[in-house]
């Protein structure tokens, strides 16, 4: 039984007494007991910004899944202007026909680009987070559970990785190893975003492995692997989820940044970063809608993710009240 459930039980007990007093002693009250997840959800719902963030994220996911089907992007297709329209070098500003305006040069629809970019950018942000959290959790649990030499060795590697100027390294790795491929960029981002998680998981393991239920599991002869995955890890789950939300936000920005420097994903696959990178070309001709909407998509996403992260932190925090 973990802390949250215990607190909930105390609350329940007093609630039962209160209702019994109200209704007379012979009245029986049954209160449903809540699981850790139901409890967290109950608290999460009270966090309005987090709910808003979750809604925005859900919407973005729908756009990322269905948008490219409705408005498929093909790098080699040059969009046709409607009859009678003259080409404008800087692209035309937002109108009913093109809600986000047009890009400079080929006059592509910015909305179509942003919708297609959503799929790649969200894919990169979330899947690199999964890789990072996976590596970080494995390294952290092994180091924290085994301790001793293994712990020392792994944590020195983390020290070295954290001392690297990580943005420089990612730029170099993306340029020379990424070769413009989305999957390789995901792997590179994942490989460079696990260090924080591993430190976090290690510290959680160090404290949880001393608790009585782990001792009990050891005493009845449960194998190490089962103790790590079935007994300790579920208790370390909530801080990991909160850290993961930060990684998603960070990696979406980093992707934009790496693509902006021209070493990220090839422009044949639009991402918010490489849309922005191209947006530089028409900026001084007065085209503000191209960078504004593609950058706006990044800001909205990162804000939504960090709101959800905040909500999760409060929801999992046993000290916060329901």
């Amino acid at each position: 039984m973990n802390v949250e459930q215990r607190i909930e039980m105390e609350v329940d007990a007093s609630e039962v007494e209160r209702r019994q007093e109200e209704a007379g002693s012979d009245y029986e009250v049954t209160l449903e007991s809540l699981s850790q997840w139901q409890l967290a959800w109950k608290k999460f719902k009270k966090h309005h910004l987090a709910l808003l963030g979750l809604g925005i994220l859900g919407l973005l996911f729908l756009v990322a899944v269905f948008g490219p089907i409705l408005a498929p992007f093909d790098f080699n297709t040059i969009p046709k202007l409607e009859p009678g329209a003259k080409p404008v070098a800087a692209g035309r500003p937002p109108s009913l026909l093109h809600l986000f305006g047009e890009t400079g040069g080929l006059q592509r629809d910015v909305l179509q680009l942003v919708v297609n970019g959503a799929r790649t950018s969200l894919f990169i942000g979330f899947s690199s987070m999964f890789i990072g959290v996976l590596i970080g959790t494995i390294v952290g649990s092994v180091a924290g559970y085994l301790g001793g030499f293994v712990d020392n060795f792994l944590m020195r590697i983390v020290d070295v990785m954290l001392s690297l100027p990580i943005l420089f390294v990612i730029v170099v790795a993306a340029k020379f190893l990424g070769q413009g491929s989305v999957l390789l960029v995901v792997v590179i981002f994942g490989v460079f975003s696990w260090m924080g998680v591993s430190r976090l998981v290690r510290s959680l393991f160090l404290s949880i492995r001393e608790r009585e239920f782990v001792e009990a599991a050891k005493a009845v002869g449960v194998r190490d692997r089962r103790i790590i995955f079935r007994h300790i890890l579920p208790n370390a789950f909530s801080p990991i989820v909160v850290a993961a939300s930060l990684i998603v936000a960070g990696n979406i920005i980093t992707e934009a940044f790496v693509s902006f420097l021209g070493v990220g994903v090839n422009p044949t696959t639009p991402t918010w970063g490489n849309i922005l990178a191209n947006a530089r070309t028409a900026l001084l001709q007065g085209n503000w809608w191209w960078p504004a909407f593609s950058g706006g998509a990044i800001i909205v996403t990162v804000l939504a993710v960090s709101f959800v992260g905040d909500g999760l932190r409060d929801a999992f925090d046993p000290r916060s009240q329901t």
Partner: protein, 373 residues
């Protein structure tokens, strides 16, 4: 104290060594290598490509290349130059001193451990010179932004903490959220649009000096010009500095003002603050003498950890505003596959990061009397 400092310095040596290996490993893993740029050049014969590789030592096995780059192996041995050291791995230099001491002592010619970063493949200049030329613009940009950003972050954080939940505090919170979510370069682009775009057009969109009136920054001509018209030169520099500094300040202030606020709130809730108030001290004295001084302790550590990222983080800002610093040098070297320059910048910035961590720890131990050694 001295013991603690020595121990911390000693601990960072293996970290730096690990960094050299990772830096080397990443660049080695890159397909093609420095000769990739010749792949589609029909005028290069195989013999010329081989000669290029040999002249840069790229024909040697990887451990030998690493060893030479570090300055532990002597390239003269492999090139069979008369009078060279007999062993290819020269831990002891020709003068009998360990080979990782400076050239004057050990007598060895070059290598990282002698402070020599090698030569830039694309330009032929020494890497040290190229980085030194780029370091001054980065230093100017970084230090000006740092001073403004820290002052503002502390002011906003403290004020938000004193007037908790006021309109100012809530505005600062919103600003922090948006600042965190805003990519640096996006802000840069928007600033360029507003101030250098067709509308206002009052500030330069990039560069460090006005090319029509002033020589390029850092060139000998520039210093002559600077000596002749100091005021005009400084005004020109300030104009070019304005937009990049705003970009860096706005993005970095977001997290730091939150940090100062949290730290200040914690300090304001302490018993000694209540005691000071109970004694009847004026609010101002309690806030600034008692709470602020203690609240700034964790902030110092944070600064030490952030300064290096100001230098490396300037990479985007420099690239947007064509500021001729280390970030821009790094980007151009990436596109030119200039490996020695890339390794040099990676190493030096790693050194700055390690030094920043070290200084943060030492400074913290110095200002906080509770820390025992």
């Amino acid at each position: 104290m001295t013991k603690y400092v020595i121990r911390r310095v000693a601990q960072s040596i293996p970290v730096l060594f690990g960094i050299t290996i990772i830096v080397y490993g990443i660049l080695l893993a890159a397909p093609g290598g420095p000769t990739a740029k010749f792949a589609n050049n029909p005028r290069m014969t195989e013999a010329q490509k081989d000669a290029f590789k040999r002249s840069w030592g790229l024909d040697q096995p990887i451990p030998v290349q690493y060893c030479r780059w570090m300055g532990l192996c002597n390239p003269a041995v492999d090139d069979k130059i008369a009078g060279s050291i007999p062993s290819p791995v020269a831990l002891i230099g020709p003068k009998g001193w360990p080979n990782f001491l400076p050239e004057a002592l050990s007598g060895s010619t070059n290598g990282l451990l002698h402070g020599d970063l090698g030569f830039s493949i694309s330009s032929g200049y020494s890497v040290g010179d190229r980085i030194a030329t780029a370091a001054l613009p980065t230093f100017i940009l970084a230090s000006v932004s740092l001073v403004i950003w820290l002052t503002l972050a502390v002011l906003i954080g403290v004020f938000a903490a004193i007037k908790r939940y006021s309109i100012f505090d809530q505005a600062a919170t919103i600003f922090a959220y948006v600042g965190f979510a805003m990519p640096t370069f996006w802000l840069g682009l928007m600033l360029i649009f507003f101030f250098s775009g067709p509308g206002l057009n009052i500030l330069p969109a990039g560069g460090m000096t006005e090319t029509r009136t002033s020589p390029a920054f850092g060139s000998p001509d520039y210093w002559v010009y600077f000596g002749g018209h100091p005021l005009a030169a400084i005004v020109d520099l300030a104009k070019h500095l304005l937009l990049p500094v705003i970009t860096l300040v706005v993005v970095n202030i977001a997290g730091d003002s939150r940090f100062v606020r949290a730290s200040m709130l914690e300090a304001l809730g302490q018993d000694y603050v209540r005691t000071a108030k109970a004694k009847g001290l004026p609010n101002r004295a309690v806030t600034f003498k008692h709470a602020l001084r203690n609240a700034l302790l964790p902030v110092i550590t944070n600064i030490g950890l952030e300064i290096p990222f100001l230098f490396t983080g300037a990479i985007v800002t420099e690239s947007i505003f064509s500021w001729p610093g280390m970030g821009l040098l790094f980007i151009t070297s990436t596109t030119q596959a200039d490996y020695p320059v890339l390794m040099g910048i990676l190493l030096i910035s790693a050194l700055v990061v390690v030094a920043g961590n070290l200084l943060a720890d030492i400074a913290y131990a110095f200002v906080d009397p509770r820390i025992k050694f």
